[in-house]
Point group: C2
Chain length 577, copies 2
Amino acid sequence: MGFVRGGFVLFILLCSFEMSIGSGKTRHFKWDVEYMFWSPDCKENVVMGINGEFPGPTIRAKAGDTISVVVSNKLHTEGVVIHWHGIRQMGTPWADGTASISQCAINPGETFDYRFVVDKPGTYFYHGHFGMQRSAGLYGSLIVDVADGDQREPFHYDGEFNMLLSDWWHQSVHHQEVGLSSKPFRWIGEPQTLLINGRGQFNCSLAAHFSNTSSPNQCNLRGTEQCAPQILRVLPNKTYRLRIASTTALASLNLAVGGHKMVVVEADGNYVQPFQVEDIDIYSGESYSVLIRTNQEASKNYWILIGVRGRRPQTPQALTLLNYAPTSASKIPLSPPPITPTWNDYDHSKSFSNKILALMGSRKPPRNHDRRIILLNTQNLIDGFIKWSINNISLHLPSTPYLGSIKYSLKTAFDNKSPPENFATDYDVMKPPVNPNTTTGNGVYMLPLNTTVDVILQNANALAANVSEIHPWHLHGHDFWVLGYGEGKFTKEDEKKFNLKNPPLRNTAVIFPYGWTALRFVTDNPGVWAFHCHIEPHLHMGMGVIFAEGVQHVNGIPNQALACGLTGNRFMKTTQN
Amino acid sequence: MGFVRGGFVLFILLCSFEMSIGSGKTRHFKWDVEYMFWSPDCKENVVMGINGEFPGPTIRAKAGDTISVVVSNKLHTEGVVIHWHGIRQMGTPWADGTASISQCAINPGETFDYRFVVDKPGTYFYHGHFGMQRSAGLYGSLIVDVADGDQREPFHYDGEFNMLLSDWWHQSVHHQEVGLSSKPFRWIGEPQTLLINGRGQFNCSLAAHFSNTSSPNQCNLRGTEQCAPQILRVLPNKTYRLRIASTTALASLNLAVGGHKMVVVEADGNYVQPFQVEDIDIYSGESYSVLIRTNQEASKNYWILIGVRGRRPQTPQALTLLNYAPTSASKIPLSPPPITPTWNDYDHSKSFSNKILALMGSRKPPRNHDRRIILLNTQNLIDGFIKWSINNISLHLPSTPYLGSIKYSLKTAFDNKSPPENFATDYDVMKPPVNPNTTTGNGVYMLPLNTTVDVILQNANALAANVSEIHPWHLHGHDFWVLGYGEGKFTKEDEKKFNLKNPPLRNTAVIFPYGWTALRFVTDNPGVWAFHCHIEPHLHMGMGVIFAEGVQHVNGIPNQALACGLTGNRFMKTTQN
């Protein structure tokens, strides 16, 4: 009896140990990643799916929960990793899911247990972070609700919908990758189709009959097709939360709901001071929650649409319907979908970005920075190959994950020279580079723990004259405060305009053409963290940097995460040799 | 001075150590494997190339040389291995280049040094052995000449040409793989084009003007195109050696040289008793040397052609020219190319196979066998997925290479139950399986060292009635004697017909529809050796078995070859844990 009681106590202890990582429960998932035939836009293609689904399954958890996703790589020859976008991985940097940075890619036939705490409610997503596997379709939603017993969200809603936005190409990512690495360079071009929750229409449009031209055809979907739009069915006079995240490979998007205003309440898992807009701009890597009030005529349905921004659109809007119950879901609105703002109306974009401010009472940034790193974004050439460079270094990831090579001081694993903290003062950001040549590199910005770092992202002219593009930069392991956006070359004077009062916390921030964006974060999370343009082909072409902070404090890296490259060679001890 | 002299002696010792693996010199190669745009058949596609070439570079060495190929994996997300087809890897089983069997696949960004001795002159080739990377174009030639000072070849020739044969699909292998693993099953279909040294014509034919139909068009090639045929330029009244190897993914081929007879002198790196034929059948995985005498009218050119055998052809013949100097290479022959024997004229095929006998004085097989393994080849279903099975087990390779898991007795790495040595006596090989269900497995035939093993490959009816296909079986690590071919189900009586007098040594042997093939080999090479159908999609569908022999005697496996799966986990010793 005493033994049984003792066993019971032990059981409790083990459970609480299990639970001690997060304050909530552990949620277990088993995922098989594989290629499959799928028709995201009514045209069949090969798509990277999870457990036979595209997009992958939605993870739903509560703040404080521990997530355990045992990922089995069922691909035949490709490695795979999954990045949990927006999750900071406090204490679990090896679970960040970045190949060559936080871990070795999971080999075909092997499994890896991603185990991490979701500590903050919000709208997140996950995606592949190896080669261009995100573009191949490896993504899904991750929604974190407030913990039981915690205070409720600072806004009310009656129901919610999840909208994961992406873009889709008919050409395989393998083909795309070869083009990007070829001389002459072959750009991937604009996407064939925009997808909402993995569904779009390439062969037809829901709104074709409003068009003056004969193409595309009016959709004749039964609703059961893989490409049939998910219709948002609502009750009149209610408030709905739309959780919107963009995992596009390339496209900057604008989303609107015909006849309905939107109140933005969350950005990248952080509450913002609510503000009302007609439409939102959303860049790859960002997420928003918006509230809509179903206060329009209930006998009608309304368009929900996304369209391309920031690049001359060659991709039709994606459409679905806001369907008021009990109106039939097949009732098409009487007027055409709203028109997406002109692609190069950057004032519209900037106006939206500048409205995003932290909810009153949010954590404020430190007043001063300990270090400022200025990162010039340029398009360059290496031996005729087109690259993106940051302070004239185009990132080429090493084969040994940084987390292991830095932890174990394997000095030959990457460039030991620290990359530049600034760029030449006489560089003219308004013109193509005078000397377009650049070099590849994989050096690391080593950041001491518990310091305040400012990053100024400086945009510039690309290789061609009068071209400067939008780049959404995403930081792993952190949220940062967005202190401000500006035009032209950043100067010391611009610092005075920094918003230190209520800057929003984000994990992704855009740089506008020819502009700069100022970010601040505190190095409070030991690990190695990628910071990169979230446009996947741009990252593939070198547009990123690596931050390492307090790696000596990282303990518990799973062996499997380091069983490749130099760490693999160094720590493999067989008895034979 | 004494120190210097001592250093010199040490240097000599080190060199001789270096050389001691083989008796010849060490030949060093550095290869980058990557995808690239290429037009093997005049239609651009993505091809797996080596150092920017397709097919990969030809290796030329002398018997006794050590080959060192440092393979760098420049693919973005795929692992890679290279198998040296026909090289027995005596003492270097980790260099056999079979993923999951002899080594972990080389990770993207990493390199692996394949170092092995080529101990026997002959016509060989190399190719990818992971997923379907061979079909993606990862192959090239490996020619071993007689060693300096060794006796000359048992035949004379004035010049030689190398012809590596393959087949080509326009659909990517990634797409093909998904189809093969899908329900409903999608077969890859017949190849679009046959290639000679990586060159074929999809859009045109050299002999189109002989055709009654309008398609294809007459080729209008300048000769500099990637798809332009390599023309064999010869002098009159000479003897030429054609080294012919087939690395097709699927197609069985027939090769002929218009107006010229061929004398077969070598098969799979072994001399055969010379015999004369009008054409040769060649199956995937095989190689031949044939001699031709340029004794025809020198003012003409002559067709060299390959066509499909064993499957209803939907692929045009591949053509090139035998061009007699000084006749212009652009002079097309006056008559159409010879017609390839009817695809299902198996008597023709068998007649050719039965002519292949060992050159007099060749090594003879042991008179008796110690063990006989009978392998029934069937097409089956698993949960509706189509598979190939051997004794009702469809091979599914484990994630840990057998060479490591057997050496270190990691019992959970694969099925420990030995696979069956025979099949049910009442199985009717002439009919579709009564119960088509099968199971996947990865058990191993454990073979004690220095025993004589007979393998009887037993063909059968596939899933559909009246269908039985040709399968060329290839053994790694060994040559085997082909003791005979027979019809129907093998019986004890058939043993009496075995050729023990002059059976040819091969590494690949075909089973004909509804027939059996008897092989014998001696387990004299410690290692783990795949034995499988060389049709790549068939292997992908499970058509293979694994032999392990004397693995306890294997020493010196490079750590990198085992840095994955359970061996990776077991031998990774980081200081942190």
